[in-house]
Symmetry: D2
Subunit: 185 residues, 4 copies
């Protein structure tokens, strides 16, 4: 049995970065979630997979939730909420989604490294998540990992931290969530 | 300008096969759709893409619809309907889905070449669609196309034929459908 | 047994529209396919599902093929080919993909109702497929179906018509294709 | 600025669980990766999204990689490697995939909570990852999170820990990986 140095190096990096995440931002996004008629989740690439994981948990929690781009996802309307994860805050397709959501009168929330960029600027709530990507080199501390990985991991964990809050807010247990878990797969 | 012989050969084959499709079967599936609380759509491979296209139209029509395997798809329950397309009627994952749906008290409908096989046998309604696949060679007439293509094309068209009926049944126009069409993509 | 009038109405519509498809256009796209290092397939919505079906057949035929947006899809480079299906020829994400492909020195081919629009204008080969969509009402003949369906069906069939040619060109049988068919699903 | 207690609670849980992960197991999987002709990645649900993220990184690294279930994924053959993530080690579709891979003469590797279960038992290499799921309650320590989350997060991080090793093994930088990063999305 050999301890895995890489995993501990990743966890140390995440802990350091996590100190910069403001819990008030999570609470603001959670408030939008509880107030929304329907929740639309968007994301591209690896942070998009973290977002898909979150869409799964929101379904478990009983919310009406859609992932942008799926065939069963309807048009977004006033009263709805769009949550997008975008490291740069400038991902073209997600910028386009966010603009459309705002035009329709829906709210927008985002997880991003740069809340000051395009998506964050038009968002009703933004969670700033530190990280480093190849497109924005040198703006953060050098990561022990491939570019983007630290942001993506911390997105996943931040989504799960919100799930912990939402379980308490809605007074639900693992059993409640599991009843909604897909029984065909 | 040269006419495309292949396309006409395909359309001729589809017309010949279409003569064996019983409209009463479509009407039976449509009845289950209109009676269901929620509709779950399943399918694998190329006929799965036809099924995804159908799930999109059911959303356009205003039904509560989920594609099996997506993260936002909840557990199936009594009162729900599962519609699966399976050429052989024996696709392992779709057999498993159909069994689970029946166990839960949901209804099952299928589009298949062999209604007498596993999935058709446990279905509440089945649309028999002629075709030929590599796994079931020699049971049908030789196709001018790659194995399976004729079944897959006719699945797509049969789904769309049901959409025509459902538009009339629910008294909806193209404009009604377009309002629900995804506005973020 | 009642014949299904809707299916025959669809097939009649497709046959009428098919008369406007130029086989020379298919041959031009097939030539690009056989000359490409790697083939990238793109598409959104329902015509995107037809495109996914085609990507599956190109894999069966032994080509190196990727669907745009999948996590295993690499960057497009000179010598590669992008094939996109877009009814309007103006779908934002597909316009963006096509521009990028051209910038990189890759070729672009398209299936579209309007070869004169953005994507067609920058394409090395375009197959014009008649149809009617809600966004481009009144430019074509009224369809018996929901907007877009006729184009989507004819895309699927046009892709399959090219598969017929490519099987002959590469001298392959159903058995050859089936050997490459996914054995895990 | 309020520190996020949930995120730190998750990171503490991951650090505690990480102590049980054997780096020798990661090295064994990495060896299979470097020896394989082609790599097939499988996974369902939320741990499937972590697996998709890994498939993306393997593409970045220059490996020939496929995600099971995608239309461009061919049949697995001798000399190939299948890597599946399955908390329980008994997920029906992944068991079926693993059996098929072994039958074909391919190797199988897995990330799982229970290497002694079905998938682990037939694997050439297994990474044991601690966790707790609703289906296997009481076998591990109670998690601060929803069932499964801890396993899923640690899968993502373990995949990324292997990426760190593989970058070193293949002597590649972020720049090398970024060149292969999808330029159309």
């Amino acid at each position: 049995m050999t301890e895995c140095k890489n995993i501990f190096a990743i966890l140390d990096e995440l802990k350091e970065n996590a100190a910069q995440i403001n819990d008030d931002d999570l609470k603001a996004v959670e408030k939008l979630i509880t107030e929304a008629n329907r929740i639309f989740i968007g994301g591209a690439g690896r942070s998009g997979f973290a977002a898909r994981g979150f869409s799964n948990r929101l379904m478990h929690l009983g919310y009406t939730v859609y992932f942008v781009g799926e065939p069963t996802t309807p048009s977004i309307q006033e009263g709805d909420l769009l949550i997008v994860g975008s490291g740069s805050g400038n991902t073209a397709s997600l910028v386009s989604n966010s603009k459309k959501a705002k035009e329709q009168g829906a709210k927008v929330a985002t997880l991003t490294m740069f809340p000051e960029n395009t998506i964050g600027s038009m968002s009703d709530a933004a969670i700033k998540i530190p990280g480093e990507t190849e497109k924005v080199k040198g703006k953060g501390k050098a990561s022990v990992q491939a570019s983007g990985s630290s942001f993506e991991e911390l997105c996943w964990i931040t989504y799960d931290a919100m799930v912990m809050d939402l379980m308490k807010l809605t007074n639900q247990t693992n059993e409640d969530l599991f009843k909604r878990h897909a029984n065909m797969e």
